[in-house]
């Protein structure tokens, strides 16, 4: 039986699929130099899909669909919107990438991966979940290694693939053990089975460890983070931005749903594990970011540390904790995409990702410098940008659940963060080009960048000032977990 609810629950995915098919059909007929316009099509199509879904496919009371494979609820829906927004922005940022932007496949792979992410956020069954994760990852492996002529990109693709396949196999082993112990693959039945059955804590901890390996890779927790800097540095910049935002958020969507729903009985154990991981992730990410001279590597380490901050909300294991994670990810997606978008816009003009080469940026393009200021201050957690409120919410959730020590670790880390983020801004605003002739070297933005960056910058400021609507949506999502 195919009911209306079932249709509505996967409406965003259907629309993405339709968009993909349209691109497949249209792209070969366009002349090669026009193929970058697929980017407009992708971004426009995704925004239209978001709009349609927001108008017609909003979830009501949570409901299991497709025989318990997916769950139709606010949690999944809000994440879906976030992923689609991130993909639309990424499509715009890809358009003027010299080597990747003129090929329709890039956009198609992007769409395939968003499709997988949407399913990740909604899946309520281990089998579905695994399929969704692979649907997400495989296109991303290709995208990371998209520039075949560039050794670093190829290396990034291969490295990502090897790490990804390895950790995903470990996670799959964890899933199969779960099925073996409980006889069910439904996330929502696992908890009952644990409560009824005689599964020892040690066994469950073993399984949890296997799951953390797989998911920790996705969200790049220390010690599963080694791939991130190399892959971000090598892959096309917009793809790196997408990897560090949407892909990470998708990982968190799974973490939140899986752990909050399936293992509530073992909460003291896994929250402790996550607390330690969060502390280590924040600290290692920030300390390694301190010495970076390449801006993409700096952002890679900073994004590792941000996974640590967001994890504080998971550790809190409370409605506010879940809401704060979701809010954090929303703010972080907008902020980090903005940062990577700027890096992309700058590097295609100056041909370098060295922080040194950002000298004089504020004189070469004051508007771009201001947006960079917004992005980096938001990453540093300064108001009136999104990062400030997001950090306060996760810290508040941490304190509420009694993890004051973890919050203090987080706070010490944000101090380190302020240092290196401001350092980059020093290059942008203070230092000058060697000949002090910035007016002869303007950095011009093409239209897609202009649009994408301005929207993202406004998003960063809106999330940081008018935070009530975003929070209430995050909260609605979080309530589906309790």
């Amino acid at each position: 039986m195919f009911t209306q609810t079932m249709f509505l629950s996967i409406l965003p995915e259907i629309l993405i699929l339709v968009l993909g098919v349209i691109i497949l059909i249209v792209e070969p007929f366009w002349k090669e130099e026009k193929r970058r316009n697929v980017g407009w099509l992708t971004a426009g199509g995704l925004l239209a899909a978001m709009l349609v879904s927001l108008l017609f496919a909003r979830p009501g009371a949570p409901e299991m669909v497709f025989g318990g494979m997916l769950r139709f609820d606010w949690l999944g829906f809000f994440f879906k919107m976030l992923f689609m927004f991130a993909a639309a922005a990424t499509a715009l940022l890809l358009m003027d990438h010299e080597k990747a932007g003129y090929r329709g496949e890039a956009y198609l792979l992007l769409l395939a991966s968003v499709l997988g992410m949407d399913l990740m956020a909604a899946s309520a069954d281990l089998v579905m979940l695994y399929l969704a994760i692979e649907t997400t990852s495989i296109p991303l492996y290709v995208l990371a290694g998209f520039i075949v002529a560039d050794d670093r990109s190829t290396e990034a693709g291969l490295k990502y693939l090897l790490f990804g396949a390895m950790t995903s196999a470990i996670m799959l082993y964890g899933f199969s053990l779960l099925f073996g112990f409980t006889g069910t693959t439904s996330t929502y039945k696992l908890a009952e089975m644990f409560a009824a059955g005689q599964v020892s804590l040690l066994t469950v901890l073993g399984v949890i460890f296997l799951l953390i390996v797989g998911l920790g890779f996705k969200v790049s927790l220390v010690p599963f983070h080694f791939w991130a800097p190399d892959v971000y540095e090598g892959s096309p910049t917009p793809v790196a931005g997408f990897l560090s935002t949407a892909s990470k958020a998708a990982g968190f969507a799974v973490v939140v749903r899986l752990f909050f729903i399936a293992f509530p009985g073992f909460a003291p154990a896994w929250t402790m594990i996550f607390a330690v991981l969060a502390a280590v992730t924040m600290t290692v990410g920030n300390l390694l970011a301190l010495s970076q001279t390449n801006i993409k590597r700096l952002l890679a380490y900073s994004s590792i540390s941000h996974a640590g901050y967001a994890l504080i909300g998971v550790v809190a294991f409370s409605p506010l904790g879940a809401a704060s994670v979701i809010f954090y990810l929303a703010a972080y997606i907008a902020t980090n995409l903005l940062a990577f978008g700027i890096v992309m816009a700058v590097s295609r003009v100056i041909g370098s990702d060295d922080i040194k080469d950002y000298s004089g940026l504020s004189r070469r393009n004051p508007g771009l410098a201001l947006m960079m200021l917004a992005a980096f201050l938001s990453l540093a957690g300064m108001p009136p940008f999104g990062g400030f409120v997001a950090k306060i919410f996760v810290f508040a959730a941490g304190v509420q659940s009694g993890y004051v020590w973890l919050v203090i670790v987080g706070i010490l880390n944000s101090i380190i963060g302020v240092y290196y983020y401001l350092n980059v801004l020093k290059y942008v605003y203070l230092y000058r080009m060697p000949n002090e002739d910035e007016e002869n070297h303007p950095i011009l933005l093409t239209r897609p960048y202009m649009i994408a960056l301005v929207i993202l910058a406004l998003g960063v400021i809106l999330i940081g000032t008018v935070f009530a609507p975003w929070f209430s949506w995050s909260d609605a999502g979080a309530l589906n977990l309790f």
């Binding site: 506010l320 504020s362 004051p366 201001l370 200021l373 201050l377 540093a380 300064m382 108001p383 009136p384 400030f388 409120v389 306060i392 919410f393 810290f395 508040a396 304190v399 509420q400 004051v404 919050v407 203090i408 706070i411 944000s414 101090i415 302020v418 240092y419 401001l422 350092n423 801004l425 020093k426 605003y429 203070l430 935070f467 009530a468 929070f471 209430s472 909260d475």
Partner: protein
């Protein structure tokens, strides 16, 4: 709900910053004119608030309240009381005069480049963003919003100092200042979050509203534990010894208008937040730890004055004198009695105006002579008579001379300290002598000693706008000095409220 004057005051600079950012970078004069217009507007509104505050009613007035995030009890709750009304006015005055003296003058013939000549658009935008944050802290009655504005007031400092600051130390000083202040604010943040949850669990109402949190009835042990991080986290920005180290470095590296803001207003921000959040929300903790504040503040007063005395750099001297004078504010807080708190309230205003004046005049001298070393200066009074008079008036205020606002502020503080602990009053009063010594020595050398040949012919007189700024600041100090009734009764209504929270001590 009446006219939302406090929101307008708070958001005027921010709106002006946005407008300024949208103007073309080459239209420097238009940028400055817009900045001046916005600053004048904010000043007039803050004057209106100051004089329309009803002292008979007391309490929080011009209150506005909008639910911002009801789920967590965050609201945009604005209001001023007798403590914050003078500080709002102070911010308006410093903003107005800061814009005036940043306008500057450019004269190739005399190697003169005063004020802000490089990228004034960005300068005023960042400065005004900071001003919005400052106004926001002074009027916020919601703890979340207070922190929000507090951070907004802190981070533009980094850019303002690093871009327009003194070439030799700006990078070091800007980073040091930002890290100190950020550390302070996040330490307080932990305390604030703990207060939020503890109060919520006790009363069942989860709110950041300070008027509600006042009634939370935190236990004595809780207050004693959390008072320290909350109070000292904020007090770092107030320049309290031994965390004052960032402050003189920051003053010296900052461009003139930013030094004025920094010493004139930002340090009050720290003291004010420490008072409002630390002392008013955790009164038992304040009583428990008042000896420690008194100790630190007492050291700051004497030590700051002594270090100022041995400085050869004019700006460092004023920077350390600020540490000393802010020590007096903290000393006033630590007494927890009526005289001391009232004096502290007036001192915050008086010192803000005085130090803004000092930095303005120092900036004018430096722009023309390109040195701040006191021994290398001399004879300034012949070419800049107006500035000289201004500096002397500032000096008299600094020494606490009767007839000027400094006396109105310092006398009650010492009275209060005498009541609390007479020995501290005796020791702290040494600072008055040291202050008099370095101010007099400085005036003699810089303004009245014979002018070194090097400077002969290079020094030009200050501009009309500079004179307006100096006159405004001087007039305020004399007015308060001659007519203490303009400010003291107002401040004492605020103090009554604090004393009520302290249990009618």
């Amino acid at each position: 709900m009446n006219f939302p004057i406090l929101s307008i005051i708070t958001f005027t600079p921010m709106a002006a910053a946005l407008i300024i950012l949208m103007m073309p970078a080459q239209r420097k004069t238009e940028v400055r004119a817009t900045a001046l217009a916005a600053a004048t507007f904010a000043l007039l509104l803050s004057l209106w608030v100051y004089f329309n505050y009803d002292k008979g009613l007391a309490g929080y007035q011009f209150v506005e309240r909008y639910n911002w995030l009801p789920a967590l009890g965050i609201s945009l709750h604005f209001g001023v009381d007798g403590m914050s009304a003078p500080l709002v006015l102070l911010t308006g005055v410093v903003m107005f005069t800061g814009v005036l003296i940043s306008w500057g003058a450019y004269d190739e013939h005399h190697h003169l480049s005063a004020g802000i000549q490089d990228r004034p658009r960005e300068f005023f935008a960042f400065l005004f963003l900071l001003a919005s944050g400052v106004f926001g802290v002074f009027v916020s009655l919601d703890l979340f919003m207070l922190l929000f504005f507090y951070e907004i007031a802190v981070f533009p400092m980094y850019l303002l100092i690093v871009i327009w600051g003194w070439v030799q130390t700006r990078e070091y000083a800007a980073m040091k200042l930002t890290l100190y202040l950020f550390i302070g604010s996040v330490i307080s943040l932990v305390g604030v979050l703990v207060m939020y949850w503890t109060a919520g669990r006790a009363t069942g109402i989860y709110t950041f509203d300070m008027l509600q949190l006042e009634k939370a009835g935190f236990s004595g042990a809780f207050q004693n534990l959390w008072f320290l991080p909350v109070f000292f986290g904020f007090a770092i920005l107030g320049g309290i010894w031994p965390f004052h180290n960032w402050s003189p470095d920051g003053h010296v590296a900052a461009p003139t208008a930013v030094s004025m803001f920094h010493a004139g207003v930002l340090m009050k921000l720290g003291a004010f937040a420490a008072l409002r959040v630390g002392i008013m929300l955790l009164p038992e903790g304040a009583k428990h730890w008042s000896w420690l504040i008194m100790l630190f503040a007492g050291v700051a007063v004497v030590y700051g004055a002594y270090i100022a005395f041995v400085q050869m750099d004019l700006k460092y001297m004023i920077g350390f004198s600020s540490v000393s004078h802010m020590g007096l504010v903290m000393l006033g807080f630590s007494t927890l009695n009526k005289a001391g708190l009232t004096g502290a309230g007036v001192q915050m205003f008086s010192h803000g105006i005085m130090t803004a004046l000092f930095f303005a005049i120092t900036g004018m001298i430096y722009d023309r002579s390109h040195t701040r070393q006191i021994p290398e200066l001399g004879g300034i009074s012949k070419v800049m008579p107006f500035a000289t008079i201004g500096f002397i008036i500032g000096g008299l205020v600094s020494m606490g001379m009767p007839g000027f606002s400094g006396f109105v502020a310092e006398f009650p503080i010492f009275m209060g300290v005498w009541g609390a602990q007479w020995l501290v009053a005796v020791i702290a009063s040494i600072s008055i002598v040291i202050t008099a010594a370095y101010i007099m020595r400085n005036i003699r050398q810089v303004f009245f000693a014979p002018m070194p040949e090097k400077l002969e012919g290079h020094i030009t007189d200050i501009t009309m706008l500079d004179r307006v700024a100096i006159a405004t600041l001087c007039a305020l100090m004399i007015l308060i000095g001659l007519f203490p009734s303009l400010m003291v009764p107002l401040v004492s209504t605020g103090v009554d409220n604090i004393l009520r929270l302290l249990g009618g001590a």
